[in-house]
Symmetry: C2
Subunit: 249 residues, 2 copies
DNA sequence: CGGTTGGTTGAGCTGTATCAAAAGATGTGG
DNA sequence: CCACATCTTTTGATACAGCTCAACCAACCG
């Protein structure tokens, strides 16, 4: 059942995989905390017509903190980081972005984070004023973005809680738990989590030194909670004790 | 030139002070980073018709984490805290809310923070579905909420940066700086900041023990950066060195 | 193969959590 | 109005966790 090239309209399941999409917990009730695809196919099709798809190589800076904000992006695939340069030269990673995330919206005339790809990424690009014009015409779509922002706010509050923890291994465990829920729709597939970012990035996300992250990783492994099959993945070995540690403070 | 009481319509400056209002940095450019009143008088009047004004005494819990989310609130006046109970019994304050702030929106069927007044507060209450229904009819108002959420997201990211700092006095300085910008519109009026929350609340917001907050306060005072005229206010004495400390990491 | 970047390991030091207790506020009832 | 009980904040002493600096190891790339 290979998709046939029709003359006018694009086949639906092709849209599914090619049009932009937003991942978040819905506003109303949902099957206990699993993120869903917010936009309807029609809305995604609509967005696809006003946006431009693009592929970006790894380690590419999309914009700098302070640049005039003109574009909004939706992540189709890949992994990016959003960070801020601090006066000391230190960097603070505010968030990692995966498929279904938006960025470029959270500003006021100027971007307030720097944005950089980690892996090769597929993005959808929107001119900010085109998007806001669409919002005025289509409040339903605007509402989806509102839900997405709400979700991001929750995630950010979660980050504060992570960083506020005292014990390094606990922070790291919360971090693994956090990214295990990102980048895909529906419930968790497997115990193995992809983790494309560097240890240094993880460190500046959870508020530890890279050395502390390294030691905490060793510690979690020694306690039999997790394993690191490759450099960029974690596997939860003992889910029960792992979850206990995550919610331990 | 005193305003005359016309027969039908309410005098404008009365609306100004009685109708709900949202404080945030606007989406477009603004006079360098000063928060403004987002809603137009007409929009505020509109919101006033679908919302209910209410006064709440101090130390009153409005809702608990996990409760079914039915209402959205806008703060008219006063100060509240939003916090989460952690497994250890510890509390983490996610934010302090002042005039022009929204809460109750950042959820998904259930509230995910507990909300409690600190001082006596004047609020506007909205039924969540009435508000979302309004959004579908009036995308302009919806857009203002979107801006507000964006602003809250920025603030939350800022909190993460505060908590990630290593030095206690630096965190405290960042905290003073943060709340000095909240609760009022336009540029800063004075060097004296109102600070109605307890030291314990401050501690659990910036991620320190209450003792550490106490010591850091003493330290800032000893260094001649700030003074504490009363228990619930701070005065910036040396703005230059204070700002240096705030942006020191 | 050197060069570069990213990650791990080790030793010492600083700063904050923790525990215990005193001192200040705040509120209540006689 | 004062005395008492309760709660919040401050102060002091100690222990420990993570930062820092420095060296070492591994992977990647021309």
């Amino acid at each position: 059942m290979t998709p046939r090239a029709h003359s006018v309209s694009i086949p639906v399941h092709s849209i599914r995989h090619r049009a932009p999409s937003l991942r978040a917990l819905p506003f109303g009730h949902s099957a206990e905390g699993t993120p869903v695809r917010l936009l309807t196919d029609r809305q995604r099709e609509h967005l696809a017509t006003i946006g431009t798809p693009m592929k970006v190589p790894p380690r590419t800076t999309l914009y700098h903190e302070g640049d005039t904000a003109t574009n909004v992006y939706i992540v189709q695939d890949g992994c990016l980081k959003s960070f801020r340069e601090l006066a000391s030269g230190r960097r603070h990673v505010t968030s990692f972005l995966f498929a279904g995330d938006v960025f470029g919206l959270a500003e006021h005339g100027k971007y307030c984070n720097t944005l950089r790809t980690i892996t090769r990424s597929a993005l959808y690009l929107f001119a900010a004023d085109t998007l806001t014009a669409l919002f005025k015409r289509d409040p339903e779509i605007e509402f989806q973005f509102l839900c997405k922002l709400t979700h991001e706010l929750r995630e950010s509050q979660r980050q504060s809680i992570i960083v506020a923890r005292r014990d390094a291994s606990g922070r790291l465990a919360m971090f693994f738990d956090m990214i295990s829920r990102e980048g895909h729709y529906g419930p968790l597939q497997s115990a193995t989590i992809k983790m494309p970012m560097s240890r240094v990035d993880i460190a500046s996300f959870v508020g530890l030194s890279p050395e502390a992250v390294s030691r905490a990783s060793r510690d979690l492994k020694a306690r039999g909670l997790v394993a690191f099959p490759t450099r960029d993945s974690v596997k939860i070995l003992d889910r029960k004790r792992f979850d206990e540690l995550v919610s331990a403070t």
